[in-house]
């Protein structure tokens, strides 16, 4: 969906991105993570064809962002970290304007507005002025504006910033539902725990370079035993397709490639070998651990 090759971006005083090479898979949610000032926002803006690179290329759905920026603009939705709304307009008019500005034919606008409102849960607030909405509802309206024209790609920069826990949960559900409808999403965020809820892949950006990344959704497992067993580590080492991240006599964290069938086979093998498995499932600390492991930093020094 997105191909980035040797991308360089400079500000007058510094090089923000230094040779980024990256492929982003379609119909998935990719988390863009990294410390402050790493270049995440710049990278998102280059993907959105809002900036011109110094060198290299960004291709969105086969379209070169530098050669045909307007074509790229038509194909994506983008939510900046600090966004604004036309506060004097009603939700309905904001969305009608967004749909028409994105080139949607007049006869399709009403249906598109209704669908976008339905997606973000604003259907009962169509006549409310945008300026009177709460922070969470403004976020939803901004997302609705970004997706009202039915883009195949949605770029979101810190979408959960400033949202309360309920609004964050709603946002996660919304992003997952968009992914399930076939949309590709790239989300930049500092809140690793929240990204874990919905992201399929992670790309770590640090000092303007890709510092690491992986497909992690469901791949990292946590295994706990009811009673310690000396043989656990040796057993896991012998299993094909299993990479041990950390293991002792009572618990282990492993990467298990191969999807659900391989996970089922591993569980069956553990029980068959007599291990008293008390916990077996997706590792909820996976993203954060991967992040710090790949950045080579301790959790205390980075957000």
């Amino acid at each position: 969906m997105i191909e980035i090759r040797d991308l360089v971006f400079e500000y007058p005083t510094a090089r923000a991105l230094d040779g980024i090479d990256l492929s982003i898979a379609p119909k998935a949610i990719t988390a863009l993570v990294g410390p402050n000032g790493a270049g995440k926002t710049t990278l998102l803006r280059l993907m959105a064809a809002l900036e011109t690179p110094y060198a290299g290329s960004v291709t969105i759905d086969g379209v070169d962002a530098q050669l045909k920026p307007r074509e790229v603009h038509r194909r994506l939705g983008y939510l900046p970290d600090f966004f604004g709304l036309y506060d004097g307009l009603s939700v309905r008019r904001c969305l009608i304007h967004a749909a028409r500005a994105h080139g949607l034919a007049s006869e399709k606008v009403s249906a598109a507005v209704a669908e976008a409102c339905q997606s973000v849960g604003l259907a009962n607030r169509l006549d409310q002025a945008a300026g009177t909405l709460s922070r969470g509802l403004r976020q939803r309206l901004a997302i609705a504006q970004a997706l009202v024209h039915g883009p195949r790609l949605l770029l979101l920069d810190e979408p959960a910033a400033g949202l309360d826990p309920a609004a964050r949960r709603d946002l996660s559900r919304l992003l997952l539902s968009l992914r399930d409808k076939g949309m590709t999403l790239v989300v930049s965020s500092h809140i690793l725990a929240e990204l874990e809820d919905y992201s399929d892949h992670m790309v770590i950006i640090d000092h303007g370079r890709v510092a690491g990344g992986t497909a992690f959704k469901g791949a990292q497992l946590y295994i706990a035993l009811a009673a310690p067993d000396e043989k656990l580590t040796d057993f896991l080492v012998q299993q094909a397709g299993i990479k041990i991240l950390q293991a002792d006599t009572s618990q282990a964290r492993v990467i298990c490639e191969g999807g659900a069938p391989r996970r089922a086979a591993l569980l069956q093998a553990l029980i068959g070998a007599g291990f008293a498995v008390s916990d077996f499932g997706e590792d909820r600390r996976a993203l954060e651990e991967l992040y710090f492991a790949q950045l080579g930093q301790s959790g205390e020094t980075t957000s």
Binding site: E10, Y54, P69, G84, G88, H97, H102, G103
Partner: protein, 442 residues
């Protein structure tokens, strides 16, 4: 309907505002209609009100149509829309000013009808067109300035809106006062000559206003294209420079009066080149002040040139670079013409002007380099620092330099000294600027 225009209409033309504006305009005009002799006529009040609404207020709204988007953080959303640059431009220009246009147009019948009754339909219609185009010119220049300022990416938005207003108002006033300028001075006449044609100032003003409004709208569209990440290429700016040179050079007979100080005839071709050269130099100063002069862009241009991709580099040249090049070429051509020309200009034979002319070119190159150099120090204040430096170089230092003035200004009495000093200063500042641009690349 253009979505941007419609959005602005939603915000600007609410029933309450329309009612208020109608009441305000009609009430004010009605009061002055009933006023005793000695008070301004209702037509004069309507004209003043028109200027207030279309030009004073309209320029502000035109500037804010972009500046407010930056301030309210909605500009990225606009840039990502599918609207073509032309549609986005006119949707903003006429949408953001729709409320003030509504009030201004209410005033027009009270301005035009007395002219129609007194002088006939042609003067009335021409006045109507002039008023409308003055408004559009002022507002489009204001919008153009705001688009130029946001490319510079600084944050003095309150001041910026005012600056845009001022440029728009100056454009409108210049267009209006132009015919008066032609009829002042020792050579004042009811008609004047432009490229050998005898013209009436009124009609010349009329057509000039239309043409410059057209160029202003072209400028707005091109500035909008840049915001939408489209590449403009150099050809429209070169066409504008060609137009500007030809337009200004047509006033040669008007300037000749001042050049013929010793009573001899002036070479018309040399004088026309000189006027066009001045116009190019002014455009270079104006654009080097307005454009961002981004060091990253410089480095990119150098990289493209080093890689042999001259075509790509040429297509990405800034307007000031093109104006700079046009000024250099025109000056060299003028020097060539003057070298073979014995007819005096401003009291000196042509060849005697060549060295001072080349010295002036050197000082010009130094001035442009100053803008580039000081921009590498401060993105926000560099250009104002360059203006201050030029004020010191041209106004203050020559007053205290005495016989050393030739080091600062082109001198007829010491042309070789001026020439050497000018190009030494230019080379030094350019070298300094280039070193700073390259150092920042690391």
């Amino acid at each position: 309907m253009n979505p941007e225009f419609q959005r602005n209409l939603w915000l600007e033309l609410t029933p309450a505002r329309l009612l208020l504006m109608t009441g305000f305009v009609l009430f004010l005009i009605a009061i002055f209609s009933a006023a005793p002799t000695g008070f301004p006529s209702s037509g004069a009040v309507a004209l003043a009100l028109y200027y207030f609404l279309a030009i004073l207020w309209g320029t502000r709204n035109a500037a804010l149509s972009v500046i407010a988007e930056i301030r309210e953080r909605t500009w990225d959303f606009q840039k990502l829309s599918a609207s073509p640059p032309l549609a986005l431009m006119w949707g903003k220009l006429f949408g953001a000013t729709s409320f003030t246009w509504f009030g201004a147009i209410l005033c027009l019948p009270f301005v035009i009808y007395p002219i129609w009754r007194g002088e006939g339909s042609t003067p009335a219609l021409s006045e109507l067109v002039i008023l409308l185009f003055q408004g559009v010119l002022a507002q489009s220049v204001s919008l153009l300035t705001s688009l130029a300022l946001i490319r510079r990416q600084h944050n003095y938005w309150r001041l910026d809106a005012f600056l845009c207003q001022v440029t728009g108002i100056v454009a409108a006033v210049s267009a209006y006062g132009f015919s008066n300028l032609l009829s002042i001075g020792p050579q004042a006449q009811a008609t004047f000559s432009w490229w050998g044609m005898t013209l009436q100032p009124h009609w010349f003003q009329f057509f000039s206003l239309l043409v410059f409004t057209g160029w202003s709208l072209v400028g707005c569209t091109r500035a909008m294209r840049l915001e939408l990440r489209l590449v403009n290429g150099p050809f429209v700016w070169l066409a504008f420079l060609g137009f500007l040179g030809l337009y200004e050079a047509g006033f040669e007979s008007w300037f000749a009066f001042y050049a013929e100080s010793d009573g001899g005839a002036v070479d018309a071709a040399a004088l026309r080149l000189m006027i066009a050269d001045l116009a190019f130099a002014c455009s270079a100063y104006g654009m080097v002040f307005l454009e961002p002069k981004d060091p990253v862009h410089f480095r990119w241009l150098v990289g493209e040139a080093r890689a042999g991709r001259f075509g790509r580099a040429f297509l990405a040249l800034d307007c000031w670079m093109l104006s700079f090049g046009a000024t250099v070429l025109c000056t060299l051509l003028l020097a060539f013409v003057l070298w073979g020309d014995s007819q005096p200009i401003a009291g000196a034979p042509g060849p005697a002007l060549v060295l001072p002319l080349l010295a002036a070119l050197g000082f010009f190159a130094r001035d442009i380099a100053l803008f580039v150099l000081l921009r590498t120090w401060s993105r926000e204040r560099g250009d104002f620092a360059a203006l201050a430096a030029l004020a010191v170089l041209y106004a203050l230092l020559p007053q205290i330099a005495g016989p050393g003035r030739g080091l600062l200004l082109p001198q007829m009495t010491a042309p070789a000294l001026s020439l050497a000093a000018a190009w030494l200063e230019a080379a030094t500042i350019w070298a300094w600027a280039i070193a700073r641009i390259q150092r920042r690349a690391g």
